[in-house]
Amino acid sequence: MTLELSHFNAALVFALCASTVFGISQRNAPRDMFRYGAYCFALFIGGVLLAAWVMWAIKH
């Protein structure tokens, strides 16, 4: 089986898995885990979008 993911989808899967582990391992209470995981996910995706726009600006 071969998986074909676009750059953005690959970044989404990466961000989701990494945020899950960060959330669980870096906080003590379940509610805090979820919030920290969501925060990490937002930072990952925000970073990806920001980098994409910076590269677009450099090209143009």
Binding site: T2, H7, A10, F14, C17, I24
Partner: protein
């Protein structure tokens, strides 16, 4: 003369401490060997399941993207670090090596993402194993 009730309590505490000490070694080892197992043996079912899902997804998605699984090497520094990251995933690494999975494909850009996925799966599993250790020593609920 020692109070028998106190002696019994002390013995119970010593036994509990001994169990905690052995769990502090067993939990991270089990967690390294099979992602999430370190949490399962401490009855953290949901956390264990989520960690297992995250690491398995990263690892198998990496393989499905034709990522490379590094073998032991003493060559290029990045290859050595790749091996160290890969071996963090525990038994899955050895299964992948035995089954000849993760040969890699330099002609596909996505395969390079797959290689990184596999390395990061190992690194995330190490974080999960350390978390299991923290639970075992009582640093975390």
């Amino acid at each position: 003369m020692a109070n028998p009730q106190n002696t019994a309590t002390m013995q119970r505490n010593a036994k509990a401490a001994q169990q905690t000490n052995s769990m502090a070694i067993i939990a991270p080892l089990a967690g390294w060997l099979l992602p999430g197992l370190g949490h399962f043996i401490q009855r953290r079912w949901i956390r264990g399941l989520l960690l297992m899902l995250a690491v398995f997804t990263m690892f198998f998605a990496g393989l499905a993207m034709q990522g490379k699984v590094y073998s032991f090497n003493t060559g290029d520094l990045l290859d050595i670090l790749g091996f160290i990251g890969d071996i963090g995933v525990g038994a899955l690494y050895f299964v992948a090596r035995m089954m000849d999975w993760g040969i890699g494909n330099i002609h596909r850009a996505v395969a390079d993402y797959g290689t990184k996925y596999i390395v990061v799966a190992g690194l995330l599993n190490i974080i999960a194993a350390v978390d299991a250790h923290h639970i075992a020593i009582g640093k975390k609920p």
